[in-house]
């Protein structure tokens, strides 16, 4: 399986667009894709893919219920569909997830049971049998370092790191290393970096230098995305991936935007080959 968390400590680097478009490219390549949105903020993956209508309905079944053990088994009841991908949308309850998980942990302790607040997502996914239905899971947690991202990393073990080639962006990568090192130690897991994905690249000398440094660094840099604000804004506006936006909402195809789609396809192929993914039997 290809399982990855798309994470950056810095906000606004294009994490959500990357998750959606990479997912779409993998789906188009014949893989069964599950996206998981752990970001309770309004402008998240669920909004981008137009599946966020139940976000503020407190009575709606949602992932948090599964994480605390109030809902069990199959995730079908909460899975939505967009552009050929399945998606577990986010829910406002995720804002309080730390509190809910801690309460559940305290309760478990009273009964002599163990309950690790950072390992619940993997438990939920395993109990739902996701490995039988999907060969790709991409998780988009919020940009904050809390139990949501810990659960995501514990459940996926691989990171895809969108990165803005500025000084601030470089800081965020080394900050991430600290975070992951701590997590690896606490959760007894090994985490791999599937790739660093420079985004919003502008052809300035400073940025070129940063890109070169990253490419020379220890992690793979499969593609570099240039600044494409018009396309990305259009996608947010129409609530879809670039793969849907361009044919449906662009009057004429622009070469450089076609390039962007090809880069997502290249990134998808690259990630799939990293884990030896074959297309699932229909």
């Amino acid at each position: 399986m290809l399982t990855a968390t798309v994470y950056s400590e810095a906000g606004g680097v294009g994490k959500t667009s990357l998750t959606a478009n990479l997912g779409r490219a993998l789906s188009d390549a014949g893989h069964e894709v599950l996206l998981i949105d752990l970001d309770p903020q309004d402008a998240s993956l669920s909004y981008l893919l137009d599946v966020d209508d139940e976000r503020d309905n407190p009575e709606a079944n949602n992932l948090v219920r599964y994480l605390v053990g109030r809902s069990e088994g199959s995730l079908e009841p909460i899975i939505r569909e967009a552009e050929g991908m399945d998606i577990i949308p986010s829910h406002n309850m995720l804002e309080q997830i730390s509190k809910h998980l801690q309460r559940r942990a305290n309760e478990a302790a009273d009964f002599g049971e163990s309950f690790n607040v950072n390992k619940q997502l993997l438990r939920v996914l395993r109990e739902a049998g996701v490995q039988d239905k999907y060969d790709v899971i991409l998780i988009d947690p919020a940009a904050t370092a809390d139990t949501k991202v810990y659960n995501a990393i514990h459940a996926t073990r691989s990171l895809i790191i969108p990165f803005e080639p500025t000084g601030k962006g470089s800081q965020s990568v080394s900050g991430l290393e600290d975070l992951v090192l701590g997590l690896e130690e606490q959760l007894s897991i090994d985490v791999g970096v599937m790739g660093i994905v420079p985004n919003k690249y502008k052809d300035t000398r400073d940025q070129q230098q940063i890109i070169t440094e990253v490419q020379d660094g220890p992690y793979a840099v499969p593609v570099v995305f240039r600044e494409r604000s018009s396309l990305i804004e259009g996608c947010w506006n129409k609530q879809c991936t670039a793969f849907k936006y361009i044919p449906e909402h662009r009057k004429r195809e622009r070469d450089y935007e076609r390039d962007t789609l090809e880069k997502f396809e290249t990134l998808a192929e690259w990630c799939a080959s990293e884990v030896g993914l074959e297309v699932m039997e229909a």
Partner: protein
Amino acid sequence: MKSGAGADPFADEDEESGSEVELEDPIETETQRERQDDESKQLPYLYARDNVKDDRSQTPMFIQEDTEDELGKLQRDLEDMLSDDRVYKTDVVEAALLAGIQNPDETAAILRDWGYDY
């Protein structure tokens, strides 16, 4: 962090190292690594062990959020105080616990703050 994908968390349990299904009993004892007796008597714990979980068993620890925050701060302070690049949180926790055990008067004072011995 290593380069390349991490292990598949959905692979069969046997094929995968390091990941585990949540156990019901609260005490998980790590398999003891065999070690020459002399070696472990001579070397300080930090150098005798192979990883931070060696010779340790896991117990759930129930602490308040404020204490969690103070632990984090203690870890940062210790990293400044000691010459090592990093001090593992697991070690900080046990060392702080031992410090409390070795100073019963101070431990009693904290319990009194919480309402014991009123």
